[in-house]
C-alpha cells in the first residue's frame, strides 16, 4: 500500500536508469542523508560521533572495497588489512613530506598508491582460485605488515614505529586530524567522503565494469569466451578495491585513531572486514553498510545491555557471553538468510509492497 510504484512513470531513459527508480526509495535515501548530515551532528554526543559513527563509516568504506573484490568480482581476498595499512602509511609519508598539500589530495594519492600495490598482489589471481587465492592473499597481508614494521623509513624513524597524524585542515581552518579537530568536523568529512565513494561504487557496479566483474565471478571461462578479458577485469577489481581500502585505512589512522602502528591492520582486521561483507551481503553496496553496522554496533549493544538493565556481571563474563552471542547470531543470520542482511532488506521491501496483504 505504501510502497507501490503505481502512478510513477518514467519518461526518459535517464530516469529509468536511476539508482533509486521508485519515489519512496528516493525519499528514504534523502531522509537518511538529512538525518546523517543534520540530525546526527546536532543530537549526537561526542561518544556517538567519535566511537560509533566514524568507525562505522570507515569500516563501511573498507567493506565496499572488499565487496567489490570478493562480492562482485568473486576473488576472495584476506589481504584487506594490508591494503588499509598501505593507505595509512602512504598518507603519512606523503603528508609529512609535503605538509602543504591538502589532505583530500593526499588521501587520493595514497589511494592510488594502494591501487598499484593491489594490482601487484593481484597477479596470482589469474592462476589461483577460491580458497587457495584467499590464503595466497594472506601472503600479501603478512608481507605488507612485516614491511611496515621493519623499515623505519615508513614511520620517519620513530623509536616505536607508531605513526601519528599531524594536524591537517580542509577549507582553511576546519581541522580533521590532530588534536584541534572538532568531532563534528571529523564526522562530516568522513561522511562526505564515504557517501561520495559509495555513490561512485554503486555506479561502477551497475555499469559495464560491474557486469564484467560479475561475469568473471559467475563463470570466468564463459566470460572469457564472450570477450571479457580476465586479466584486465580482475586487475581492475583489485585496483579499485585497493583504492577503497587504502582510503579507508588512511581515514582510520588519521581521523579515527590519530596514530597507528602496523599491527593495527593485521589479520584480525582482514577477517573483520570479511565478516562484514558476508553478514551484510556479498555483492551489495547496501550490504557493506549493513554489515559494518552489525559488526560495530552489536558488540557495543551486547556490552551495554547488561549494564543498562542493572545487572552487575563481571566484565570477563560479559565479554565471553558477548563472544558466544555474537557467534550464535552469525550462525542464526546465516541460517535465516544466507545471502546476508541486504537480502533481508530486499525481502522486507517486497513484503512492504504487498502490505497489508500477505501475498
Amino acid at each position: 500500500m505504501l510502497y507501490r510504484e503505481t502512478g510513477q512513470f518514467k519518461t526518459s531513459y535517464i530516469a529509468d536508469q536511476a539508482i533509486f527508480p521508485i519515489r519512496q526509495d528516493r525519499y528514504l535515501a534523502a531522509a537518511l542523508l538529512v538525518v546523517a548530515y543534520v540530525a546526527v551532528p546536532i543530537l549526537g554526543t561526542e561518544y556517538w560521533l567519535l566511537t560509533i559513527m566514524i568507525p562505522f563509516l570507515v569500516f563501511a568504506l573498507a567493506a565496499i572495497g572488499l565487496n567489490i573484490l570478493t562480492g562482485y568480482a568473486g576473488q576472495v581476498s584476506l589481504g584487506t588489512g594490508g591494503f588499509m595499512a598501505v593507505g595509512a602509511f602512504a598518507t603519512y609519508k606523503i603528508t609529512t613530506s609535503f605538509p602543504g598539500l591538502n589532505i583530500v589530495v593526499v588521501f587520493v594519492l595514497a589511494g592510488i598508491i594502494t591501487a598499484l600495490v593491489g594490482v601487484m598482489f593481484g597477479w596470482p589471481s589469474l592462476r589461483i582460485k577460491g580458497f587457495y587465492l584467499a590464503v595466497a592473499t594472506l601472503a600479501s597481508q603478512f608481507f605488507l605488515i612485516w614491511m611496515f614494521n621493519k623499515f623505519p623509513w615508513f614511520n620517519n624513524y620513530t623509536a616505536s614505529g607508531v605513526i601519528s597524524a599531524p594536524p591537517r585542515a580542509v577549507f582553511g581552518h576546519f581541522f580533521v586530524t590532530g588534536a584541534e579537530a572538532n568531532p563534528v568536523d571529523k564526522y562530516l568529512f568522513v561522511l562526505t567522503t564515504v557517501v561520495a565513494m559509495a555513490f561512485i561504487a554503486k555506479n561502477l557496479v551497475r555499469g559495464r565494469v560491474g557486469r564484467s566483474w560479475m561475469a568473471i565471478r559467475d563463470m570466468d571461462i564463459a566470460a572469457e569466451i564472450i570477450g571479457i578479458q580476465p586479466l584486465q577485469t580482475k586487475l581492475l577489481a583489485f585496483a579499485i578495491s585497493s583504492f577503497y581500502c587504502g582510503i579507508s585505512g588512511a581515514m582510520w589512522a588519521f581521523i579515527y585513531t590519530g596514530g597507528v602502528e602496523a599491527l593495527a591492520f593485521d589479520i584480525d582486521r582482514s577477517f573483520q572486514i570479511l565478516f562484514m561483507i558476508i553478514i551484510g551481503g556479498l555483492g551489495s553496496i547496501l550490504g557493506s553498510f549493513l554489515g559494518a553496522a552489525f559488526i560495530v554496533l552489536v558488540p557495543i549493544f551486547l556490552e551495554y545491555t547488561p549494564m543498562s538493565l542493572g545487572l552487575n556481571i563481571p566484565v570477563n563474563y560479559i565479554s565471553n557471553m558477548q563472544s558466544m552471542i555474537f557467534g550464535a547470531l552469525i550462525v542464526f543470520f546465516l541460517i535465516v538468510e544466507p545471502r546476508g542482511l541486504a537480502r533481508l532488506w530486499q525481502t522486507g521491501k517486497e513484503k512492504l509492497r504487498m502490505w497489508p496483504f500477505p501475498y
Binding site: 614494521n149 616505536s160 590532530g178
Partner: protein, 446 residues
C-alpha cells in the same frame, strides 16, 4: 520478515538508544576511576591479576579508610581485550561517567596508550602508563597529561645492562661480550633498541637483535640461531604467549636460564609456569617488589579477603607478581589523589586537578612506610619535566615457586636517558605543532 519480528528489532534498537543516552546516576562525593582491563583474550593471563590487584587495593582503601580524604573511590571495569579500538571505545564511554569525569586512566597497553594520548590531553584527563607506553612521555614539558612512573623501558634496558656489568665484575668486562635481545616485533618490543644501541657503543659489547613475529608461538629458528651465536646474555622483551614459548625453547636448546633476563612484562607467573621445571633460574627485571610480605598486602588480605568476604581473586593469588604490580599502580594513583586534595580540598576532583597531584607526587621512604609499601614501591619524585620519577629496577629470579629478588634497586644512568627522552619528545612536539611548557615557570608550591 514478519512484522512482529520487525517491531521487536525496532524496539530493541530503541531500548539500546535509551540505554546509551541515559547517564548512570552517580552519587555525590565519589571519585570515579575508569578501569580499562583485559580479562579475556590472549593476554588475559597477564591482565587478570593486574586488574585484580588494582581493584582489591581500591576496595581495601574504601573499607579501611573510607576512601581518600573521606571521598569514596568508585570504579567501573571495561573490557578492552588488549584491542586498541575497544580501548578507545571504553575510554570515550567512561570518561564522562561521573560529575567530575574520569580521574585518571591506566590503559595497561602500549597500543591503547598511544591511541589515547591526544584524546586524553584534549579532554584533560591524565594517563598513567606505568612501565609501558611512550617512554619519551617522561619528558613532561611536552606531555603534560602523561605519566610514566616509576620507570620506562629505556631505563629498564639500561639497568639490566648495569646488572649484567655487575655480574661480570665491572663495566669494562662487558667489552667483547655478546648480549642478545629477543623481542616482540612491535612498537613495544622495539622500545629498548635505541638505548641498547647507545650502551653497546659506549661499553663495547656486541648487541644482537632477534625479532620474533607476533604472536610468537614458534621460535625455533630464533633459538637455534642463539645456540649458534652463543651470546653471553639474552634479554627478552616479550608479551603473552611469546614469553612462555621463549622460555621453553631456551630450555630446549639448553641455554643457561640464569643468563636469560626478561623485562617486567616477561617476568610473571603466567610466563614461567608453562615451562615447568626448566624455567628455574630465569631472571626478570621488576619495577615493584614481589611477594606478599608487605603491610599493605596484609591489609588487603584482612579487609578484602578476611572472614567471609570475597575479593576479585582468591587469597592464594594475592602476592603474585602482576597482582603486586596492580596494587602498586593503585597505591601511586591514590597517593597522587591525596596530594591533589591537599591543594583542592577533600572533594571529588577533576582530571585537571588530579594531574596537578600526579605532577607533585613525592614518595619518600617515610611516606612509603606510612602507606605500608616498604620494599614494594621505590622512592621517586615527579616534577614538571620529569614524569617518570624513580627509574629504578630490581632483578628477580624464578626458583620454581616464586620470584625472589637477587639484586637491590638499580638506578639507571638518568642523565643519558633523560636527554634521550627530551630529544625524542621535542621531535614529537615539532611534528605535532605543540609548544613545550616552560617548566621553570611553573610553580612548585603545594
Amino acid at each position: 520478515m514478519k512484522l512482529q519480528k520487525l517491531c521487536c528489532v525496532v524496539l530493541g534498537v530503541a531500548a539500546f538508544g535509551f540505554g546509551m543516552a541515559a547517564e548512570n546516576a552517580m552519587a555525590q562525593n565519589e571519585q570515579f576511576i575508569p578501569r580499562l582491563v583485559y580479562r579475556t583474550g590472549p593476554y588475559a593471563p597477564n591482565g587478570i591479576p593486574f586488574a585484580d590487584g588494582y581493584a582489591d587495593y581500591l576496595d581495601m582503601i574504601n573499607a579501611r579508610d573510607g576512601g581518600v580524604g573521606g571521598v569514596k573511590i568508585t570504579y567501573e571495569e571495561c573490557e578492552t581485550n588488549y584491542n586498541n579500538d575497544k580501548g578507545v571505545e571504553c575510554y570515550e564511554r567512561l570518561k564522562n561517567h561521573a560529575p567530575t569525569g574520569a580521574t585518571v586512566v591506566d590503559p595497561l597497553s602500549t597500543g591503547i596508550t598511544y591511541a589515547l594520548i591526544e584524546r586524553a590531553t584534549a579532554d584533560k584527563i591524565p594517563i598513567v602508563s606505568m612501565g609501558y607506553g611512550r617512554a619519551d612521555a617522561s619528558y613532561g614539558a611536552v606531555f603534560p597529561y602523561v605519566f610514566t612512573y616509576p620507570t620506562t623501558y629505556w631505563d629498564g634496558a639500561d639497568t639490566i645492562i648495569t646488572y649484567i656489568a655487575k655480574q661480570e665484575g665491572g663495566v669494562d668486562k662487558l667489552k667483547g661480550k655478546k648480549i642478545a635481545l629477543v623481542y616482540h616485533d612491535s612498537a613495544y618490543g622495539k622500545e629498548p633498541i635505541p638505548t641498547l644501541d647507545k650502551l653497546s657503543a659506549a661499553d663495547g659489547f656486541t648487541f644482537l637483535k632477534f625479532p620474533v613475529s607476533p604472536p610468537g608461538i614458534d621460535q625455533k629458528a630464533t633459538w637455534l640461531q642463539i645456540r649458534q651465536q652463543r651470546p653471553d646474555y639474552v634479554l627478552m622483551w616479550g608479551w603473552g604467549v611469546m614469553n612462555s614459548t621463549a622460555i621453553k625453547e631456551a630450555a630446549a636448546v639448553g641455554y643457561p636460564m640464569n643468563h636469560f633476563i626478561g623485562v617486567w612484562w616477561s617476568g610473571a607467573e603466567p610466563d614461567v609456569v608453562p615451562a615447568g621445571d626448566s624455567a628455574k633460574g630465569y631472571k626478570a627485571a621488576q619495577l615493584s617488589g614481589v611477594g606478599r610480605n608487605y603491610p599493605v598486602i596484609n591489609d588487603i588480605l584482612k579487609y578484602v579477603y578476611g572472614s567471609g568476604k570475597t575479593g576479585h581473586t582468591t587469597a592464594d593469588k594475592v602476592g603474585e607478581v602482576l597482582y603486586d604490580r596492580g596494587v602498586m599502580n593503585a597505591m601511586m594513583d591514590l597517593e597522587a589523589l591525596r596530594i591533589a586534595q591537599t591543594r583542592y580540598g577533600k572533594k571529588p576532583l577533576t582530571g585537571e586537578q588530579m594531574r596537578w597531584g600526579l605532577e607533585h607526587l613525592d614518595l619518600t621512604p617515610q611516606r612509603i612506610a606510612a602507606m605500608g609499601g616498604t620494599g614494594l614501591l621505590q622512592t621517586m619524585k615527579i616534577t614538571c619535566a620529569d614524569h617518570e620519577g624513580g627509574g629504578s629496577v630490581r632483578i628477580t629470579q624464578w626458583d620454581g615457586k616464586a620470584f625472589h629478588p637477587v639484586s637491590d634497586w638499580i638506578k639507571p644512568h638518568q642523565d643519558m636517558i633523560r636527554d634521550m627522552y627530551k630529544e625524542s619528545a621535542l621531535a614529537y612536539a615539532k611534528e605535532k605543532n605543540i609548544t613545550p611548557r616552560d617548566c621553570s615557570q611553573i610553580s612548585e608550591a603545594r
